[in-house]
Amino acid sequence: MSAEDLDKLFRDKLQNRPVTPGNDVWERMQARMQANGQQQVPNPFLAPTPVEEKEERKPIRMWYYSAAAAVTMLLSVGLWVNRENIDPLQPSGSVATVEQQRTVTPAAQAPATEVTPAPAQTVEPSFNSATPAAPAEAAQAQALASASTKERQQVTSVTRKATGTTSAQTRTTEPTTVKMVSEPVLMAATTPVKKQEETKTSSEPASLEIIVKLDNAQATTTLASASTKVDHTPQEEETPTGSGRVLKGILKQVKNLKEGEKVDLQELGITKHTYALETHIGNKKITKTIEL
C-alpha cells in the first residue's frame, strides 16, 4: 500500500465526515458573543480605523499636556527660588542718582529716643545712611527709632525697603506703633538674608568704613563695624508676600509671557538691586557698583 493510497483512504473517509456538536454549543456561542459586547458583533459598516486613531491620538495629547505642565512648574519653581537673584534681568539706571551721602548725627536720633524709653546709646554713633531723597530721610529716622527700641545690642544696619506706593503709608503708620506699643516694632526688609550678607561683607575689614548703597528707591544703610551682631526678626513686612499672592503673581507673569506681553518681575516682589560700595582709605575714595 503506497503512501498515496493511504492518504486517499483517509481523505475519502474522513474529509467530509460530519460530527454533530453538542446541543448547547450554539447557546454557548451566543452567550459569549453577547459577553464580548456589541462591538464584537459583526458590523461591516463600522471600520476599525477610528478606534485605532483614538488610541493613537490619546497618548500624544497627554504627552503635550504633561510637557506643558512640567514647563510651567519648572518656570514657577525657578522664579520662586531665584526671585532674589533675577535682578540683572532688568539693569537699573538709577545708580547714578544715589550720590548723596549723609551721616546721621545724634540729632537725628533725638525724636526716636523721645518716643521710646529705650536708651539712646544703643544706637551706634557711626551710623551711615545713604538716602537719595527727602522722604527716605524721614524713613531713615523712623527706622532708627524702631531700631533703637528693638535691638538691645549694637544695631549695625537697618534696612528699609519701601516701594513707591506703600512708603508713604507705612511712614505714617509705623511711628504710631512705636509709640503705642511698648514692644518695639522692627522695620525689617523683605529679604533679611541679603542684608545679613551685606553686613558680613562690609564688616570684614575691622577699621574700614564701607558704605553700601542700594538703589531702587530703597534706602539702605549699612554700618561697618568690627564687632557687630545683627538681629533681624521681621515682625512686620511692608509688602505682604504671602505665598498665595506670589503664586498669583507668578501665574499672571506666566500668562503675560504666553501672550507675548512684557513680564514685570517687580510685580512678583522681585526687585532689581544695584549696590554701590563706597569706602575711604586714607584720602582716597573708592567706589564700586555691583549689580546683583
Binding site: 503512501a3 493511504l6 473517509k13 474522513l14 460530527v19 456538536p21 454549543v25 456561542m29 459569549r32 458583533v41
Partner: protein, 179 residues
C-alpha cells in the same frame, strides 16, 4: 439561500443568516476539529471560536473561491492554535517513534470512518496535525511549515512517520480481522 446571498446577509450582521450558517456547517466543521483534537470539549471550543471568527471577519471574505473552504480554513487554524496551546510538546519531532511500515497492509474499504478516526487519534498530536493538513486538507509542506511554525523538512518527516504508524495500525487491524 445560496452561498452568495448567505455571505451578503452575514456581512450585514443578520442573526438569521448566522443561525443558518451554523446549522449548515456545524457538523462538518466539528468533524474537522475532531480530527485535530481528540477531546470533544476542546473541539467544541474550537468550533465556537471558529464560528465567532467567521461572523466577525465575514466582511473580509471576497467572493472568490468557496465560502465553505474559507470557513474550513478558519476552523483548521483555530484547531492548530488550540493544539499548540494545549500540547505544544507533542508538536516536536519524536525521534523514538519510528516504526517500519508494514507492506502487507491493504486498503480495506470495509473499514469504517469511526475506526479510522480512532487510528488517527492514536497518533501524537504533531503527526496527526501534519497528516491531517497534508493528506486530508491538501495543504503543501510549505504551507504546513508556515502554519505550524516548523521547517518543511520537519513537516515531511512528521508526515512519513504518521503514515508509517497508520500503516502499522492498519496491518494490525487486518491481522485482528483475519483472526
Amino acid at each position: 439561500m445560496n452561498e452568495t446571498d448567505l455571505v451578503k446577509a452575514l456581512q450585514e450582521g443578520d442573526a438569521k443568516a448566522q443561525r443558518f450558517l451554523y446549522d449548515r456547517y456545524a457538523g462538518p466543521m466539528m468533524g474537522v476539529c475532531l480530527r485535530y483534537l481528540k477531546n470533544e470539549m476542546d473541539a467544541e471550543e474550537v468550533l465556537i471560536n471558529g464560528f465567532m471568527k467567521v461572523f466577525q471577519h465575514v466582511n473580509r471574505f471576497e467572493q472568490k473561491g468557496s465560502f465553505e473552504g474559507w470557513v474550513r480554513r478558519i476552523m483548521v487554524n483555530e484547531a492548530l492554535q488550540q493544539l499548540r496551546k494545549q500540547e505544544p510538546m507533542h508538536l516536536a519531532i519524536d525521534k523514538e517513534h519510528i516504526h517500519l511500515a508494514s507492506e502487507d497492509a491493504s486498503a480495506d474499504s470495509d473499514m469504517s470512518a469511526e475506526e479510522m478516526m480512532d487510528m488517527l487519534k492514536e497518533l501524537p498530536a504533531g503527526y496527526r496535525a501534519v497528516f491531517n493538513l497534508y493528506a486530508i486538507e491538501g495543504y503543501s509542506h510549505k504551507e504546513i511549515a508556515e502554519m505550524l511554525n516548523i521547517t518543511e523538512g520537519t513537516s515531511k518527516s512528521q508526515l512519513s512517520k504518521a503514515r508509517a504508524m497508520l500503516q502499522r495500525m492498519l496491518a494490525q487491524q487486518g491481522v485482528m480481522i483475519a483472526i
